[in-house]
Amino acid sequence: MRNWLKKREFVMLMMLVVISLGISLITPAFLTPSNLLSIVMNNIILAIMAMGMTLVVVTSGIDVSVGSQLGFAAIFVGLVALLPTANIFIVLAVGLVCGVLLGIFNGILIAGAEIPAIVVTVGTMNVFRGSLLLYTNGKWVTSLPAWYTSMYNSSVLGVPIPIIIFAVVVAVTYYLIQYTRLGRSVYALGGNPVAASRVGINTDKVLLFVFAYMGALTGIASILYGAQLATIDPNAGTSFELTVISAVVIGGASALGGSGSLLGTCIGVLILGVLQNGMILMRVEPYWQDVVMGLILIIAVSVDVLNNRKKEAQKKTIDVAKAIKGGVSA
């Protein structure tokens, strides 16, 4: 079980710990329960979407339309929440359905027409945002009702609802990728797409599912988005996709597909969140923040790559030939 020490997640976790320690040495305000809670709360939307993006990246795909999807779903959630007959379940359903539909739209083009994911989603990024702005004419959705916005700050048994929602998302996603045929097919497809179709995996279906799931999680995120901010800008989520993708790749998912874990992604989200928060807490001059952030990202990924290289050198010694020579038990 020394194995997990060599895992990428562990390296990134160490990185997170080092960064956090560094920050808390400089500013005591960092390591307080309330600050840590606010880091978590402020990054839950990111984390939820990053869960979906992890699956997308595992299939060696990418979805740059998630920022537009978020804005799209959030506006519709908001508009529905303003209706007099609306309630929390209707809002949930609208967010989910809206997200899933957008995701399916991507999925059909990617799986059905075999257009590369980055191209499809660059296209739909514009299509979603354009049609949203055209529909709303740039108007914000404001004055969302309290029964909806209060959801963000309420707790059940002392646990804030967004955290509960996130926990559910993680649990469902974990169950999905660990204990279902569909979830393992996602990894299989990412590992070797040709082999995947040869073992009977309907690769189109799997891709469609992955993008729909991404959409569903974006839908859930959009519900929290509206509840968190109480007003929704039709430009909401613009260029958010880059943050989501960053979190996922920092968390260790390979852009080549086949690898990526929920834990890694969570760590990726936290690294981004801690840096963002720590930078202000450390009172770094605003102009320097991008420099610091960029440098830390570069160092983090480089260290990881160098570390991986060492692992590569160690790997070759594994050999089952001896075991096989045991012969055949007839």
């Binding site: 590369p116 354009g130 702005l133 960053s246 852009a255 480089s302």
Partner: protein, 322 residues
């Protein structure tokens, strides 16, 4: 495969001509020499950026930092000019900055082996950060009149200077890619890096030059942008990032590497430029413009993949209704 590629460019060209026809019918002022020249002027910056991006994508890489490099270049030029009051020195410093940024990317990717998307995700923030630190976020506008030639001037009173630069750079890039050993190696690296190494290609050297080339193109693009808008600012060029990738891919460059042409990219950029210009002339809402650009991108690739889609449908029917 070559056949498929050719037909992609053909489809795109037909699409482009159809677009031109529609625009000329719907917008009377579209098909005037003046307007067409200003279309080429508008597409030059994106186009030059896309030249670098094309070469990078052919190696199966990606560069998310090109927009930041363009922005940083503008700041370096402005700051150097403020210090030396020598335009040539300033511009050279700007281009050198672009080359250094490209080299920085190249070292991360080729020498250390960081995946391009990760490396440039980091440098995108880093380069922008440097530009912000130098400029304190401010726009810098004290340039001499002569600086504006490159982005606002005309040759023979009609040809926009940046159009000419774009055409020359496109020709050079096309030449480099198709006629030089370097170009051949670029394709080979994108196609199968292991086999390239096994054939004596110095992978790290090729990649290093590729990212330097991308950095230089971004810098030239930034130089033109800042001359056209008479301003240097850290975030100039940022909007072109996604567009340059989209135009490159629309032009038929395979995102997985190994294939792609400059002519394809030029047509890809033209489609976006004509669409934007024509819709502006027609007074169509800019929101609809975004929508239509997305639709155009998807449409062209749908047409391109028609046979795949047809096969799938035919097989589906065969299996389920027979």
């Amino acid at each position: 495969m070559i056949k498929v590629k050719r037909s992609h460019e053909l489809i795109l060209l037909i699409f482009f001509l159809a677009l031109m026809t529609i625009m000329s019918i719907l917008a009377p002022s579209f098909l005037t020499v003046n307007n067409l020249l200003s279309v080429t002027q508008q597409m030059s910056e994106l186009g030059i950026l896309a030249l670098g991006v094309t070469v990078i994508i052919i190696t199966s890489g990606i560069d998310l930092s090109v927009g930041s490099i363009a922005g940083l270049t503008t700041i370096v030029i402005a700051t150097m000019y403020g210090m030396t009051h020598n335009l040539a020195v300033a511009v050279i410093a700007g281009l050198v900055a672009g080359i250094l940024c490209g080299a920085f990317n190249g070292v991360l990717i080729a020498k250390i082996g960081v995946p391009p998307i990760l490396a440039t995700l980091g440098t995108m923030t880093f380069f922008r950060g440097i530009a912000l630190v130098i400029s304190k976020g401010n726009a810098i506008s004290d340039f001499p009149e002569s600086y504006y030639f490159i982005g606002q001037g005309y040759i023979f009173d009609t040809l926009p200077v940046q159009t000419v630069i774009f055409v020359i750079l496109a020709l050079i890039t096309a030449f480099l890619l198709s006629k030089t050993p370097w170009g051949r190696r670029v394709y080979s690296v994108g196609n199968n890096p292991v086999a390239a190494v096994f054939s004596g290609v110095k992978l790290d050297k090729v990649l290093l030059y590729v990212y330097i080339f991308g950095g230089l193109m971004a810098a030239i693009s930034g130089w033109i942008i800042s001359s056209r808008v008479s301003t240097a600012r850290a975030d100039l060029g940022a909007v072109y990032l996604m567009q340059s990738i989209a135009a490159t891919v629309l032009g038929g460059t395979n995102i997985a590497g190994g294939s792609g042409t400059i002519i394809g990219t030029v047509i890809g950029v033209s489609v976006f430029a004509v669409l934007g210009n024509g819709l502006n002339l027609m007074g169509v809402s800019p929101f609809a413009q975004n929508l239509l650009m997305g639709v155009a991108l998807i449409l062209v690739l749908l047409i391109n993949n028609m046979s795949i889609i047809k096969n799938k449908i035919v097989l589906f029917i065969k299996l389920n209704f027979k």
